[in-house]
Symmetry: C2
Subunit: 377 residues, 2 copies
């Protein structure tokens, strides 16, 4: 940090996470008088009105353009985050046979897939083609699909989590499916951080609070030909088909969160789209992993290089010196580098580098890490 200036602050939270500065300023400027509507805030406008309809339509259109979402796929704005989708995915995809629940295949590469497979077990027979914790003791790798058990032929879908925020494990490739099995992906924490061939997926979903703004909105991209396969007792609020039919206005949607997401989508567009986001994600994470690997063992990244997350850089100090890690978090906080503690279930340190994290934030963290290491090595 340059001395003599006001201290800069950077938010490394795993989610809700950093929001682009331009977007924050835009929201603040429009909060009381929305886009020239004197005395009327977007927060209090009807979701059936002209303004909110336009805001929601624009958000959807911008997202469709950013990811080249084909006409074969619908974009839904839902609520309840990943936890709602853990149930919604099986409920919406396994209704073909009412008598016997069909099977679903889960590639368990982290905590969130464990949770999603557990929830799916309420509605469908769960097969695990891979479970890294069971095979390797902890979540530190993504084994190649050739090393997985084959997906059962009667599996309705193969489910995986593209980026696991807790252990910092990310796929660098897309699994393949065959026959009638659909590919389902939780992209909550790396959505819009690289191009994706949407046509390959039956369902992609993402909570908005990492790369698309604020918590309270879940984006679901679903192949239209799958709509209508839900179980008859699916709660309406979780049903994809009716949400699509009602253009995500089945009931009052989270208007403000959709508005913020739309602003973030436009911000991504102005920055050069998801290709630019991918380039920045590479630069940010490469710089941080590079510094960790070059620290002579002071900082250690436990995840195998091929599966290291570009979004959530997980690391330890001296292989797990908890007292020193607590000091690191406290001193970083004081230096304006916020929320660097690891997930409460695993401890250690974690720097989340979502789309809106500027390289200056990473550089400030690198400077701090170098100073901290010099003091405590």
């Amino acid at each position: 940090m340059a001395s003599g200036q006001e201290q800069q602050h950077y938010e490394f939270s795993a989610g809700p996470g950093v929001v682009p500065g331009e977007v924050k300023a835009e929201i603040a400027a429009n909060l009381v008088d929305f886009e020239g509507h004197v005395g009327r805030s977007i927060m209090e406008m009807s979701h059936r009105g002209e303004t909110v309809t336009r805001v929601a339509d624009e958000a959807e259109a911008t997202l469709r353009a950013l990811l080249h979402v084909p006409d074969s796929h619908a974009i839904l704005f839902m609520q309840g985050g990943g936890t709602a989708q853990f149930a919604a995915v099986p409920l919406n995809l396994v209704g073909r046979s009412a008598a016997a629940p069909v099977r679903a295949d889960y590639a368990v590469t982290g905590t969130w897939t464990v949770a999603s497979a557990k929830e799916a077990g309420k509605y469908v027979a769960v097969h695990e083609c891979v479970n890294v914790q069971k095979s390797a003791g902890r979540f530190v790798a993504v084994p190649p699909q050739s090393a997985w058990a084959p997906t059962p032929a009667d599996a309705a879908y193969l489910y995986y989590t593209d980026n696991e925020t807790v252990s910092g494990v990310e796929f660098s490739w897309v699994p393949t499916v065959t026959g009638a099995t659909e590919l389902v992906c939780d992209m909550s924490s790396n959505f819009l951080s690289r191009p994706v061939d949407v046509a390959r997926f039956g369902v992609i979903y993402a909570g908005a609070q990492k790369n698309c703004g604020i918590a309270g909105l879940t984006i679901v991209i679903v192949k239209k030909s799958l709509l209508g396969r839900h179980r008859a007792d699916t709660p309406t609020v979780l049903e994809y088909k009716i949400t699509d039919e009602k253009k995500s206005m089945l009931n009052t949607p989270p208007v403000f969160a959709i508005y913020v997401a739309g602003l973030v989508f436009k911000w991504v567009q102005r920055q050069g789209g998801v290709a630019a986001m991918e380039q920045r994600a590479k630069e940010r994470s490469a710089a941080l992993y590079g510094a960790i690997d070059a620290s002579g063992g002071f900082y250690v990244a436990p995840v195998e290089p091929s599966a290291r997350s570009r979004m959530n850089v997980v690391f330890r100090i001296k292989h797990g010196d908890e007292a020193l890690e607590r000091l690191f978090v406290a001193e970083a906080e004081a230096a304006g580098l916020h929320t660097l503690e690891g997930h409460r279930s695993v401890g250690g340190l974690r720097a989340s580098l979502y789309n809106a994290m500027p390289m200056e934030g990473v550089n400030a963290l690198l400077d701090f890490m170098a100073r901290f290491r010099a003091k405590h090595a």
Copy 2:
């Protein structure tokens, strides 16, 4: 409107609805730098962090104080609005017997109870103790409980909607239940508009977007002794017990909506609490219904006086002159009186007078109505 001044704007939307001006200003002032956290917005802070935890705890405590919620009842912050609760209520209350679904009783006084009873039918045998549309042709009254069919003794709960936004029908009394039957109430659109004896209820729920801020948050008040009665296949995101255990942080909650609700709760407190809200609601709605009734049949309120909503004043012009009603809406809009059209399913006109609507807004509407009537009577 005083001439020579900037035009005032008033939002009569049925929801999302008007937010207090002081609250809007407070949000705007804190949006970029939250409460002195330079460069850090509440939108991007972790829900596990100190600040958000404090904000959520304060919101809950303020609400508990406002409604005198006893220790016997938990306050939950959930997502998905009323539509999610239409499923959550039966899923959480009918799990006692796995073999045969128990019964539930619904007092159908409007569109939203119709929808909730339909959804409940997925999980439980639905009895209708009263259905005003079936008995009276349309939703214009709340018959006394003495005129209802008795609630079946094996009913898990008796469900009613305290205020129906579409037809503008509101209860002015609280139904009674006996035996093991619990009382469940959808208070989405009149929550915090009058005192309520929470102890009488098994479940009260309310979407936040009418009287508690922005869309995307649902407040559930549930008797703790009922926690754990959910069906085994209840989606986790809809389960009351785990939501209570996790202090509404089961997964990432709608942080911003909780923050706004907390500010609204404090605003209600500063205004004198729910007793003051009740007084204002009476004044606003009495003035408007009074003008309608005194208009010599130009304006007509179809709901029986004893069931007229204090929140959503529904009326027609000349018993349903649609061309004139469209003109009314358009001219009102131009005069800064927004969103006065009736619900798309019933047409006509509707002025929603939620807690944050100042008497000045009602007076501006009355002036406009008098001018409009003078022109078109």
